[in-house]
């Protein structure tokens, strides 16, 4: 245990995902030794992200305005929606430059064991977007792991009566992995070869 402020910082850092007590301590001492200006920039970035960044009213992606850059872009194809779990998945897919449609960010995957059910995700918002008949294809790009698959299964069943084309990213993605770990080439190929989920 360190004195007040240092221990506080270590405790706060230790709450971050993927940061264990040892890393928290290392980062804290790195910050202590850093130039004041560098640390000011970091605190500014932290405050700004909480003040300025919000979630897009339409797709749920992170955005600095009511609607995100992709939803505002008239050149994007409004007939296709790609459903992902998190904003970082949007970034991963955008990197491939394969996709010109729009997105819908669920905010996670269905995980009964963590108490996360369909009602805890932005599924109602998705259904509202599909109701005007403009969208003709729904691409289910949830993570290629069990919870992502289960979420895709749930969504496919839910939208079935709407008669859309429902597709799932092709294999080649690392099963059991996170979408964000897939490299651009693999992810691009998975997009190209997406398969229809209709029976």
């Amino acid at each position: 245990m360190y004195e007040g402020a240092v221990q506080n910082l270590i405790d706060e850092l230790g709450r971050l995902p993927g940061v264990g007590p040892k890393s928290a301590q290392r980062i804290a001492f790195h910050l202590l030794a850093a130039e004041t200006a560098d640390v000011k920039r970091l605190t500014h970035a932290l405050t700004e992200v909480k003040e300025r960044v919000r979630f897009c009213d339409i797709c749920g992606n992170v955005s600095e305005e009511e609607e995100c850059r992709i939803c505002r872009d008239a050149r994007r194809d409004g007939a296709v929606i790609c459903v992902v779990e998190e904003s970082k998945d949007v970034v991963a897919i955008e990197r491939t430059r394969e996709y010109r449609g729009r997105y819908h960010v669920l905010g996670g995957a269905i995980s009964p064991i963590e108490g996360v059910g369909p009602d805890d995700l932005r599924i109602k918002e998705l259904m509202a977007r599909l109701s005007d008949g403009q969208v003709t294809e729904l691409i289910l790009a949830t993570d290629p792991n069990l919870e992502g698959e289960a979420t895709a299964t749930y969504l496919a069943r839910l939208v079935k009566p709407m008669g859309l084309k429902v597709t799932r990213l092709a294999s080649g993605l690392p099963v059991g992995g996170d979408l964000e770990y897939a490299d651009e080439v693999t992810l691009g190929r998975a997009f190209e070869g997406r398969r229809s989920l209709e029976d």
């Binding site: 995902p17 993927g18 264990g20 269905i110 009964p112 064991i113 963590e114 108490g115 059910g117 792991n145 069990l146 698959e149 289960a150 299964t153 749930y154 069943r157 690392p174 099963v175 059991g176 992995g177 996170d178 770990y181 897939a182 490299d183 693999t186």
Partner: protein, 268 residues
């Protein structure tokens, strides 16, 4: 043993050998198990909780399994029945090899009600078999049996789950009394079901405000407990629903409302 004499160096050498041999016995072991749960650890690792055939519940680290090129990431997903090689670690064991025996997840995840039922099985197993590394062979056999049945899709997933739940409770020593009063032991079918009394109760022992299920419902629960699928499959929807409600209440009472996924289980 003369060479043990007063020589400190020899003594150290002998102690050293002993340590190596000790480690040789426990450092590396092999078992088969079903993945109950995975949790992300750091950047690319995962903590995997398994119910194994010989060792019971094991928590182990799968290194780098979230990365694209991981050799066994896909094999360490929930519902997978795997053959494992592990290294005993200080806090957590480390998985050094994993081979798929049965990938139950594939067929389970293709159907949402199968998925929610199967998830409740895994969570219940984790909550019932609480002590790590204590053999729990009957729970293990019950679990692989239930996952196989679910995957085959031969019975209503909700009944497969309920059968699994009452039988798990029975293995843990909490079998509900269904053929006699849980309080006084009076033989025969009884009119009420009292969760906290441990099963059906007679009209004399019956506490206030307890459920009075249809006799068919109690018979269904009994069939599920015995594994009598012929009787269970012939049951009516309303009795299955009532049975599910009682089983859930009975389970949650014993496990102190610990099963979160039960809320999300859906009927076929």
């Amino acid at each position: 043993m003369p060479f043990l004499g007063g020589d400190a160096r020899t003594a150290r050498w002998v102690r050293g050998c002993h340590r190596i041999r000790d480690n040789g016995g426990v450092a590396l072991y092999r078992d088969e198990g079903v993945v109950l749960r995975t949790q992300n650890l750091g950047e690319a690792d995962r903590i995997v909780t398994l119910l194994t055939r010989r060792t019971g519940v094991v928590r182990a680290v799968g290194k780098g399994v979230r990365r694209t090129k991981s050799r066994f990431g896909a094999r360490l997903e929930p519902f997978s029945h795997v053959d494992l090689q592990l290294h005993t670690g200080r806090a957590l064991d480390v998985i050094t090899q994993a081979d798929t025996l049965h990938a139950y997840g594939e067929s389970i995840v293709a159907d949402y009600s199968r998925y929610t039922s199967a998830t409740a099985m895994l969570e219940t197993t984790e909550k019932i078999v609480v002590v790590e590394k204590e053999p729990a062979l009957r729970h293990f056999l019950l679990l692989i049996g239930a996952l196989r049945t679910l995957g085959e899709n031969t019975h209503d997933p909700r009944m497969v789950l309920d059968a699994f739940l009452v039988r798990s409770l029975a293995v843990a020593g909490y079998a509900p009394a269904l053929e006699e009063c849980a309080r006084c032991g009076a033989r025969g079918a009884q009119p009420s079901f009292a969760v906290h009394a441990g099963g059906v109760v007679c009209s004399v022992c019956r506490p206030h405000g307890v459920a009075t299920p249809a006799p068919e419902t109690v018979r269904l629960m009994s069939a599920l407990l015995r594994g009598d699928w012929e009787a269970a499959d012939a049951s009516e929807e309303r009795h299955r629903n009532e049975c599910s409600g009682l089983v859930a209440a009975y389970l949650q009472w014993h496990l102190e409302n610990g099963i979160r996924s039960l809320r999300l289980v859906e009927r076929a």
